[in-house]
Symmetry: C2
């Protein structure tokens, strides 16, 4: 057992009542783990869109500036006064960041000693840190030989992809539409649907993304920038009979356009006229906010429609422990295949406070995903 | 038993493939009722928004013109070419109109003779007619002494109001928000919520409507034209803890504004900060289309939200026969109190083809509801 006490550093985000958003490294001395707890030395934690939201989501990126010293860097942004009511509950609180990550178990309580020396992953928050104390039961033990980088993103994207398929089955749909489909998550969902024989309509935003997904074996890939996009969408939905979509974008017209295409595909199948459109339920879940502008919905889809938020932790609560455990076991079994993540760069906690790194986060660009490795600090 | 055969007339709506919408009276000879059927001589049928949708929903009201003769009037409107695909399934079909109504049972099959001479109401379509053959089991026998005018609107509005309250209970909400709350339906929902002790936030669009609902005993009435509307809405939602709304309007920003006010009310209650907002589910069901323009949703309400269509027949299917029967029994018991409707005018089938009448329908104005009485023809 590694000896303590441990000096810890944690990447925290604070918004002051005056609208100053500050990212900095907070030092602390780590507590002893409880009987059922372990201390994980974090070796890898991905920067997901949800992390970016917590770190800098309300800041004005054009106001970004470096403060502090080289040894203790601080990144600062302004938050517009009208946004402050939305974050009232976090004002002046230093929020630890980093939803998920993986590392080495370096210390363990008396009931968790079997985990010492193993690599584990967790979805527990506060993972952008040198160390993290966690309940042993919340950790996923990585397969033998897997690195922390391979296990770092074992929760958010894999469980989201599995959650989409599980939602589809539970709500009685037979195929899926996915937007922002070239993302790490989108590529994963594509592999999962190919493995499970589920028809998936992938919507991307560029020719390069289109080609990448086609090369990955995707059967239905549409570029929303194509002039024939709406016709292509209707055709793909007709072929797959998809009546459920997951949308990462939110703002703009895409979610409504998808519902309209689903209705048009149903109308083509014929049946008796109803003022209220097809009785088949059409649903779009919005799970992201790549566009935070207003959602614009032109209703061309009768009355059997729904739109709403979809959030992984709420979904996991809803399906219960046993079903969630089944999903986690599948992730563990296919961590290096179906659920593998790709990272564009690996940086230290201090690097993550640099203005270049933060601008990169803020762009949320496909194919530029970052991994934080606190051993580099 | 009245002797047949009966000469029938039915008010039908037809859209031709060339975009000509025609309202006319179709003559036919009535069949004999089957063993379990009755013939109802219609005495009263209301013109609800859903009827207006079927009659003239896709027509351009500015193109309305009278054709035909005094004995056989025809009203004609143009349908824009781009709307024709939406009505592909009804092209060149003369659709009988009139969702609900009431009348006298003038003939009955062998198993339904006990209904002869009684007044019944039904929600069966094709009620804008002199006669309607109906399965006896689908009819609601009116209480002794009730007129057809009193029973004419016993289904759509009463069951919709009861359905809103039932949906609230089934989905675990404790109070309601209702828009276009000064409508016949809105007044009914207000009486129902007062009777059942359910907190209801009524949103209206004018001072006159505000005063009318206040005079009817409503506790929370808001005028969306007020400059302080958003603050008042948040306050009313805070007080009532409403997390479910029924919206008759659809287009514009109101549905999204309601979700935002629900979130703000939750945020005020405190609790731990989450990037994803309050975990309490907030839902708006859109059951009408007073504004057919785009729905604009500015997301200021975290991830626990939903928006979607709500349709009475689908709701009744979903809850099953026994539950629906329980609702119908309550309507029958309170037909002259909670579920009473007010009508502004009573007209004949021929009158309903007049351009003035049709312009009045198209305005869907609060307080100008029409009843059709085919005995006047």
């Amino acid at each position: 057992m590694t000896q303590g006490p441990f000096e810890n550093i944690q990447l925290c985000s604070t918004i002051s009542a005056t609208g100053r958003l500050e990212l900095s490294l907070k030092e602390s001395r780590l507590d002893e783990p409880g009987d059922d707890e372990i201390v994980v030395a974090i070796e890898a934690a991905p920067v997901n869109p949800s992390d970016i939201g917590l770190m800098i989501g309300y800041g004005d990126i054009t106001s970004l500036r470096a403060e502090g010293t080289e040894a203790a860097p601080v990144a600062v942004m302004d938050v517009a006064p009208q946004l402050l009511p939305l974050v009232a509950a976090r004002l002046d609180v230093a929020l630890p960041t980093g939803n998920e990550g993986a590392g080495l178990v370096v210390r363990a309580g008396v009931n968790a000693e079997h985990l010492l020396g193993k690599r584990v992953a967790a979805f527990a928050g506060g993972m952008y840190a040198r160390y993290r104390i966690l309940p042993a039961k919340d950790c996923l033990v990585l397969p033998d030989g897997a690195s922390s980088a391979e296990g770092a993103a074992a929760f958010v994207n894999p469980l989201t992809a599995l959650g989409m398929v599980e939602t589809m089955r539970r709500e009685g749909h037979k195929a899926l539409v996915h937007t922002a489909a070239a993302s790490n998550l989108g590529q994963m969902l594509n592999r999962l649907c190919l493995a499970d024989g589920i028809a998936l309509v992938n919507i991307v935003r560029s020719k390069a993304q289109f080609e990448m997904l086609c090369a990955a074996g995707a059967k239905h890939v549409l570029n929303s920038a194509s002039p024939d996009f709406e016709d292509e969408l209707k055709k793909a939905i007709s072929e797959t009979e998809a009546t459920l979509a997951f949308d990462a974008i939110g703002g703009g017209r895409l979610a409504g356009t998808i519902l309209g295409a689903m209705e048009a595909a149903q109308a083509e199948r014929g049946g008796k006229y109803s003022l209220y459109g097809s009785p088949v339920r059409k649903q779009v879940y919005i799970y992201g906010a790549l566009d935070v502008g207003p959602i614009e919905v032109q209703r061309k889809f009768g009355m059997a429609w729904g739109m709403g938020g979809w959030l992984l932790p709420s979904f996991l609560d809803e399906i219960g422990n046993e079903a969630a455990e089944r999903l986690r076991n599948r992730v563990r079994a296919e961590l290096r295949t179906t659920f593998a993540s790709q990272f564009h760069s690996v940086i230290s906690l201090k690097d993550a406070l640099g203005t270049d790194a933060i601008r990169n986060f803020a762009e949320r660009a496909t194919g530029r995903k970052t991994l934080i490795d606190p051993r580099r600090d």
